[in-house]
């Protein structure tokens, strides 16, 4: 079933025409043998304790009901989200749990919980600063000097995105091969801070989350402005890894596992940003008419 991700990744990308499956990708782990006594016990997953998941509109927004109980956050606050689409996506997450609740797959719920509880007690300015900090160590600004093919690959794939961001925001972003990283002008940071200030705290939580996943603020901006799809952004973020995979082979239980997790997290964060900043766009449109 999951072998389709090999096909998925190759879809339309010119730089990934490696043979299907690496040297060990086709290995199956063989028949299951009962594990020995000192087996590491994976963290317990809670049993699915509800049958039906539904949505109700309350005062503060949309709420999730598990049977007749209201969903709460870890800090026991009522779980309310501002947009209907987000509520439906969260409800779908809860409804898709088979037998046990797998919290590590419920990225949208996690993001909503973080926004509601704000466990790190940060205000808007701190969130913006945390996000902009990723610009100083932006993945796509760090370049290698050898091997020649990887240098070329990084130039061909990353430069257009940097150029786009420079044009879109009217700023200067440079790349560097030094370990100290590129020097980002203070002006660039100012422009970005004032741009991010237009987002609400929910969207900012999402922006910081996505930047932390991709290790790149520029790619995050590409996702916010619909310049990149999630698949493209993840590919660009993992460019060197993809290059090494192409050279040395793909390992399903490490590379594909990380790829799918990164994609899921990035997609959740991106969707979260868009759904949480939507109300402002709608207002904007109404004003225009």
């Amino acid at each position: 079933m999951w072998r389709s991700c090999l096909r998925l990744r190759d879809g339309g990308r010119r730089l990934l025409n490696r043979p299907a499956g690496g040297p060990s990708a086709s290995m199956s782990p063989g028949p299951t043998i009962p594990s020995p006594a000192r087996a590491y016990a994976p963290p317990t997953e809670r049993k699915r304790f509800y049958q039906n998941v539904s949505i109700t509109q309350g005062e503060g927004g949309f709420e999730i009901n598990l049977d007749h109980r209201k969903l709460k956050t870890p800090q026991a606050k009522l779980f309310t989200v501002p947009s209907e689409a987000l509520a439906i996506a969260v409800a779908t997450e809860w409804d898709s749990q088979q037998d046990t609740i797998k919290y590590y797959t419920m990225h949208l719920t996690t993001l909503c919980n973080t926004s509601l509880d704000n466990p790190t007690q940060r205000n808007k300015d701190q969130l913006i600063r945390a996000a902009v900090k990723f610009l100083d160590t932006d993945t796509i600004c760090y370049r290698v000097e050898e091997p020649e093919t990887l240098v070329e690959l990084q130039r061909n794939e990353w430069d257009p995105i940097i150029k786009w961001a420079e044009k879109r925001y009217g700023v200067e972003i440079s790349s560097s091969t030094s370990i100290m990283g590129p020097s980002i002008p203070a002006k660039t940071r100012e422009v970005l801070v004032s741009h991010l200030a237009s987002y609400n705290t929910w969207a900012l939580q999402g922006i910081e989350f996505v930047a932390a996943q991709l290790k790149s603020m520029v790619l995050t901006l590409g996702l916010i402005d619909l310049r990149l799809t999630v698949e493209q952004a993840v590919l660009l973020s993992r460019l060197e890894e993809e290059y090494q995979i192409q050279k040395w082979g793909n390992i399903e239980w490490a590379h594909d596992y990380e790829l799918q997790e990164l994609r899921a997290r990035t997609a959740a964060g991106t969707l979260f940003i868009h759904l949480c900043s939507e109300s402002t766009t709608v207002k904007h449109k109404l004003l225009k008419e």
Partner: protein, 113 residues
């Protein structure tokens, strides 16, 4: 953005993922709130004037992002269950993962001539 493909393609992909999702409850996916919402949203933005074109594009982007989310989670869970969900592996299994086999003693384990 050409990378998104056609909206119909994204919509079909979403329906397929919803079918997987609803396998957890055993109820038909057409009864879910997600299905109703998606159908409504795709219908509302099917025909648009020039002015709303950006909205249609935005919706399609969100739909494609959601499709990517559902698909990646499904594949991630499958990989997790196959490789990470069962605790520690036996020696044979670990060797098998990297394409090796344990040596076989002709007279059984611990056999010495």
């Amino acid at each position: 953005m050409a990378a998104l493909g056609s909206p119909a393609h994204t919509f079909r992909g979403l329906l397929r993922e919803l079918r997987y999702v609803s396998a957890a409850t055993g109820r038909p996916y057409r009864d879910t709130a997600a299905y109703r919402y998606l159908v409504k949203a795709f219908r509302a933005h099917r025909v648009t004037s020039e002015k709303l074109c950006r909205a249609q594009h935005e919706l399609h982007f969100q739909a494609a992002t959601y499709l990517c989310l559902l698909r990646s989670i499904r594949e991630h869970v499958a990989l997790h269950q196959e490789f990470h969900g069962k605790g520690e592996r036996s020696m044979e299994e670990s060797a098998g993962l990297v394409g090796l086999k344990l040596p076989r003693q002709p007279g059984g384990k611990g056999w010495e001539p």
